[in-house]
């Protein structure tokens, strides 16, 4: 082989090695605090500025007069799970019963919102999702009377129509948008458009943003409470995929086992041949 040919092949091999190690650098992302339940496979991102009071049994975070708690219940229906969360979390409000709104499908599953009647101390809102026979509950208590609601954007596609609909669900049935703020407000790294609504003499503020085909609207209360939307949207559950892992290991064992077995069979046949040939040779001699 000529020297040029050797060089060419060497160049091709070098190219291969270079390609193997030329990895795109993964962009460094901000570190977000994450609560992971040790056994129930759910995870809650804790937005910056919130105090983490979580225990191994459940996630609990706080900011000002607002508290959010995350729990999971094996099986059980939605109402029972909500009631039990409330009993453990705020026993003095345990006899409240919520109205469940229509489910809304987000990236991380289908959620139902539970709206509790307003109390003197504040308002309660629950978010519930069922996944693989487990019910996951996120319950929010807002001392500032914030009402987080997400709903599909109405057919005409305007955010203010969605805000009015959300205000209606939160109890302000005749509220109308009188002002849509130009400058978005940032909460937990997301931009929310501020709105002002009026119902009679009452003036109500709201913060809204769209996610896919849904509108996230915080009716009344503090803009900081809009962090609940990030928490709901980032809430995720590790899927149960152990069966596939076993399948993969078994498949690996089968492929390599077949190779080794075929090598063993071939070696055995060859040794038998060798013995026969040696026998023949000995006989001939």
């Amino acid at each position: 082989m000529s020297r040029r040919a050797r060089l060419m092949i060497a160049a091709a091999l070098l190219l291969a090695a270079g390609a193997a190690f030329a990895q795109e650098a993964e962009p460094q992302r901000d570190l977000v605090t994450l609560y992971s339940h040790p056994t129930e496979r759910y995870h809650v991102f804790i937005p910056p500025g919130w105090r983490d009071d979580s225990t191994p049994q459940f996630a609990q975070i706080e900011r000002g007069t607002t508290q959010i708690v995350a729990r999971s219940f094996p099986a059980g229906d939605v109402e029972a799970a909500l009631a039990q969360t409330l009993t453990e979390f705020l026993p003095n409000l345990a006899d409240l019963t919520p109205t469940l709104l229509d489910p809304v499908t987000l990236n991380n599953g289908t959620w139902q919102i539970a709206l509790y009647p307003p109390e003197e101390a504040g308002t309660l809102t629950g978010f519930v999702q069922r996944f693989e026979d487990v019910t996951y509950v996120l319950l929010m208590f807002s001392g500032a009377d914030s009402r987080p609601i997400f709903l599909p954007i109405p057919a005409d596609g305007s955010l203010s129509a969605a805000v009015e609909a959300a205000a209606g669900l939160a109890g302000f049935t005749d509220a109308a948008v009188i002002n849509e703020g130009a400058e978005p407000v940032e909460v937990a790294g997301q931009a929310y458009t501020p709105f002002t609504l009026t119902q009679g003499a009452l003036e109500i503020n709201a913060f809204a943003r769209t996610v896919g085909g849904s509108a996230f609207v915080l009716v009344h209360g503090l803009p900081d409470d809009a962090a609940i939307f990030s928490i709901v949207l980032d809430f995720f559950i590790t899927p149960e995929t152990t069966d596939y892992l076993y399948l993969g290991v078994a498949a690996t064992a089968i492929v390599l086992g077949l190779l080794v077995f075929s090598m063993f069979l071939r070696a055995r046949a060859l040794r038998a041949d060798l013995r026969t040939l040696q026998q023949l040779k000995a006989d001939a001699a």
Binding site: M1, R6, I9, A12, L13, L15, A16, A19, A20, F21, A22, Q23, E24, E26, Q28, R29, D30, L31, V32, L34, S36, R41, H43, F45, D234, F236, T238, P239, E240, T241, T242, Y244, L245, L247, G248, V249, A251, T252, V255, L256, L258, L259, V260, M263, R266, A267, L270, R271, D273, L274, L277, Q278, L280, K281, A284
Partner: protein, 258 residues
């Protein structure tokens, strides 16, 4: 290539002591490999943390990715064998090529099958026509064609020469697997070396290291096992098998001619 040099000696003409040393070394290596596999599985399946995006199935990466590089090593051995055979015309290099292709196919199959099984829960399909996946399948088919070419040529010298040529050309298919995801932006195949296992569409937050403790160690061990121990041990065994086959063939010819 150490394996080839150690094992090559056509055992028939080799001093008995040397043959015994080789056998002992191979036995030690085999035992080491078996323990390596068990230890690697323990590190990957038990010690390393569970990936919170994908669940347990992510652990298949400890086999999936290193096995591809193991296949690459074996196919690389086939290329070296091919080049050296064309230069020196010594049979041992052709034996190395053949062994490299066979072992490489097995490891590439492991890579393909584990990839498909991983993709079922994560991409929601056993198979998609992702460019890297397609290139990987083409690679296996290319080397299957190599074996067909070998079996199709009667003259042993021509067979060795042509197999060497095709074995070298076939390595372009390995290069394609490495290059394609880098030049084609549409691939959804995660480009992973290192302890980052979020698939691109799930990527959110920099929590991987915290949530998946022990990943680096598990990956390192499994790389050593699947990229070096397993291919080299299997290559060595396969080379010995081929030497035995050649010896039997030679004795048959001798017996027939006498």
């Amino acid at each position: 290539m150490e394996a080839a040099r150690g094992a090559h000696p056509l055992s028939a003409e080799m001093p008995a002591s040397q043959a015994r040393t080789g056998t002992i070394a191979l036995t030690v290596l085999t035992i080491l490999t078996i323990f390596g596999v068990i230890f690697g599985l323990y590190m990957g399946l038990v010690r390393a943390g569970t990936d919170i995006d994908q669940g347990s199935v992510q652990r298949i990466f400890y086999i999936h990715m290193p096995s591809f590089f193991g296949a690459m090593l074996a196919f690389g051995a086939a290329v070296v064998g091919g080049i050296m055979y064309l230069r020196t015309r010594q049979h041992k290099w052709d034996t190395l090529s053949l062994a490299g292709v066979e072992i490489g196919i097995a490891l590439a199959l492991v890579n393909l099958v584990t990839g498909a099984i991983w993709a079922r829960p994560i991409w929601n399909t056993w198979w998609n026509w992702d460019p890297r996946l397609t290139a990987d399948a083409i690679m296996v088919l290319t080397y299957a064609a190599y074996l067909m070419l070998r079996s199709g040529i009667d003259n042993p010298d021509t067979r060795r020469r042509f197999a060497a040529v095709y074995g070298i050309i076939a390595f372009t298919s390995v290069l394609m697997v490495l290059i394609i995801p880098r030049i084609i932006p549409t691939t959804i195949h995660p480009v992973v070396i290192g302890p980052v296992f979020t698939s691109s569409e799930l990527a959110q937050g920099g929590f991987e290291l915290q949530a998946t403790a022990g990943v680096g160690a598990a990956l390192g061990i499994n790389f050593i096992v699947w990229m070096f121990l397993i291919p080299i041990t299997l290559l060595w065994h396969r080379i010995r098998l081929q030497n035995l086959a050649d010896r039997v063939e030679a004795m048959k010819t001798e017996a027939l001619s006498s």
